[in-house]
């Protein structure tokens, strides 16, 4: 089987996954409604005086990073649902290499992360008038972050034996990450030892890098991008290893 065929298989698997996700309530709620709700809730934290402009500049890049995380992880959870519904078998029974399956699922997760994040980026920019200095770099960072979250999602979905367990595990990871990843509060303001915890989470680097784009702090952008890349490679390698193993165990 040529690399090209495998790649085509991967793209079709991803396309098929995304086609379903766009129709699924679970996805819309977790990948879009929840981040939008959080965005509005926190944007009004100053009560009657209305949204604080400088806080919005801080908040919106954070929420965009967080949305990439929710989108990508929710999408990768579909592996567990597919397995429990037996539809994973449909792909497993077809002449498709296991690498193509893993790559397809990874593409689906990353694309979902990117699309969700971009929706929030547009909402944030249009409604609150927050504009990004360099949209190209922002998109690159979102793509990179989405892949790293997909890797985490793949690991969870490889470890979970059924959907409820997967939801539990993913929330166990997403919620602390959301509050410790510097989305709503700066990690500099966190008491010891939380900043160290935050430094172990990819979301921290995603939000930090997205904010650094606003001030065009190229050093931070570069360092954070490299850390995200390391996270991506590491988690995807571990995740695909687990997936490959459980596929035909």
């Amino acid at each position: 089987m040529t690399v090209l065929t495998s790649l085509m298989h991967a793209v079709w698997i991803a396309e098929n996954d995304l086609r379903q996700s766009f129709k699924s309530v679970r996805h819309i709620v977790w990948s879009l409604l929840f981040p939008i709700f959080m965005l509005f809730t926190f944007s009004f934290r100053y009560g009657t005086s209305g949204p604080d402009v400088s806080f919005l500049n801080f908040l919106i890049p954070g929420v965009v990073g967080m949305t990439a995380m929710f989108g990508a992880i929710t999408e990768t959870m579909s592996i567990v649902w597919d397995k429990s519904l037996g539809v994973f078998d449909r792909i497993l029974a077809a002449p498709v290499s296991s690498t193509a399956i893993v790559v397809g699922k990874t593409i689906a997760g990353a694309v979902m992360g990117v699309i969700s994040a971009l929706v929030l980026l547009v909402i944030g920019s249009v409604l609150f008038g927050v504009f990004f200095v360099n949209i190209g770099v922002v998109i690159l960072l979102i793509v990179l972050a989405s892949f790293s979250f997909t890797g985490i999602g793949t690991i969870i979905s490889g470890l979970a034996s059924e959907p409820r367990e997967a939801m539990m595990l993913s929330n166990l990871l997403r919620f602390p990450m959301m509050f410790l990843g510097g989305v709503f509060f700066s990690i500099d303001a966190m008491p010891w030892p939380l900043p160290f915890v935050a430094r172990a989470l990819p979301l921290t680097y995603a939000t930090e890098a997205l904010r650094a784009v606003q001030t065009w702090d190229t050093f931070t952008i570069l360092v954070d991008a490299l850390v995200l890349l390391a996270f991506t490679v590491g988690t995807i390698l571990i995740g695909s290893k687990i997936l490959m193993r459980i596929m035909t165990r």
């Binding site: 079709w12 449909r90 059924e162 035909t248």
Partner: protein
Amino acid sequence: MEPLENAIEVKELTKSFGSLLAVNHVSFEVKRGEIFGLLGPNGAGKTTTIRMICGMLTPTSGTTVVAGFDVSKKPQEVKRRIGLVPDISNLFGELSARVNLEFVGKLYGLDKKTRRERINQVLDLFQLKERQNDLVKYYSKGMHRRLTIAAALIHQPEILIMDEPTSGLDAQTSRLVREIIVSLNEKEGRTVLLTTHQIDEADRLARRVGIIDRGHLIALNAPEQIKNGVESLHALEVKIRGDSEDPQKWVRIVSKAEGVEKAVLQEGKIRILSKDMSQIIPSVVNLVDKNGGKIENISVSQPTLEDAFINLTGKSIREEPLSKEDEVRRRIMRSGLR
């Protein structure tokens, strides 16, 4: 190249999940162009065996050769030649029938034109054309099953593997599915391997049957030959009033009657196998009477494939609820599979 005689060759196939031996050194062949039935109760290891043949589960030991290809070495070649109908209808509920079939066609490497032709063909064959654009989650169980079989045919496989093809279907849909299986075999010459826990289905469809119980293949022959093994036996069916409190009680009692080979409970009646009816009927009647029971109905019949199963395993294939051991087996295997 000479056409191969065997479509599937299974040798000493074994799979264990932890300490449970789900499939225990099973060997059999499926000849080209035949319908082969793997018969056994729930949890016997049928699905596990099928998954190993299809290259979806790595066996603990043993080999499988499908269409001349070793499954462990050339899984893609094997998968290309097999159409699998799994025990659970597994199509994507959020997509329409046509989109589902499109996706499957792509995975099997069919080009756009072939895909369109084949999809129209199977939609016609399975009478799903009118509902082709509806989401599959709104389909009835029977339609779902038909579409699952349709999806397995899209790449025109030479070997069709069906796991419990009619399980859970109404009588009419079951009949339609059986007719389709026969026509795929007879008219199109496709080899069919099917599993079932319904004796009459195996008897009616399969040219040869393998009986599997608790991971062991305990018989392998044509249905008639297997029945011949119990030819010398007769079956007596007794319905006893008042047997509902402890159904097994009467089985224990009648088992004591002289000349009883096997006695099992089956759908509220006790089925007794014996060589000599003239001796056994009076002694069973006597025993029931002595223990305060009333015989509601009694009938003698020719031995069936089911009786062969009872004779081999000492239990009925339809036995529900499952014995504790079988229930544990089934649960471990299901969780191992998903």
